[in-house]
Symmetry: C2
Subunit: 146 residues, 2 copies
Amino acid sequence: MKIQNDGNIDFALILAKKGVSKTKFRIHLLELFYNKRSLSVKEVMNKSSNLINKVTIYRALECFEEKGLIHKVPSINNIIRYSLCNSDECIGSLHKHNHGHFICNNCNQTFCLENYKSPDIKDIEGFYINSLNLILEGYCKDCHLN
Amino acid sequence: MKIQNDGNIDFALILAKKGVSKTKFRIHLLELFYNKRSLSVKEVMNKSSNLINKVTIYRALECFEEKGLIHKVPSINNIIRYSLCNSDECIGSLHKHNHGHFICNNCNQTFCLENYKSPDIKDIEGFYINSLNLILEGYCKDCHLN
DNA sequence: AAAATAACGCAATTTTGTTGCGTTTATTTC
DNA sequence: GAAATAAACGCAACAAAATTGCGTTATTTT
């Protein structure tokens, strides 16, 4: 994925293309994901104004997921976590995101590992696969040092 | 993994070898995992006597994980889920479980996919990997039909 | 068997996520 | 561009999931 995060991205336009209402918060939310790629609900809360209600955050994330902007990343911390979709992989609510994700067990940040792909599993007898995730956990550079 | 689930497994002995106290409930819990391989907290509750307190369940699962008997399986439903460790893969709290897991989005059952392995990722610059999980989600045979 | 240690149960609390409904904001239609 | 429609928002209340402290009971060690 090539993200040109040079401050010239028209987030409102991206929302419009995906059929998402262009409210102040949702533009802000999309910007957050373009900056950090992967966020938990808590991180979104911390990075949003205190004036934004948590219900609004949950509903916006749900909407973004349905419209193909972000996808859930599995985790063992029983925390909902989302990552920005690759526009060439995800269309609408059909999410195909075969790159790995690394989750730091200390700071809880999630990192997209573009170079590490999930194996290409097509069909397994008796299982109807909707999503496939390669999840790595441990400590990121910063947390390993401390 | 070869599990000889023929009713002749000495669960108490396994607990003793791992340094886990041999209480009635913990013997029962280990048996559950040998029977089903993968369980959420809720499933453990349902399969245990109503007399067992949920706190006991949480603490026993935590203990089993620390002693290398079971490991957490990531999921997008933010539900804590555990799988039996392969004795040849996991030693103590060092969990290496490179087989995939399939989680049914309807019945929430988890299935170990012994034949589907995670790619063998050793080191990634800046990341210190503790565990690696290959997570598949969708519908199992039973839930797909309904 | 007694002492030490670990597990257990209970109650209370915290954290996380959800639902309903009236109000505000954005989008569509004219 | 204003009115009508639809969607998003905030609030309060609720529900579910997980955690903590502490006194009691069971297990392990000596």
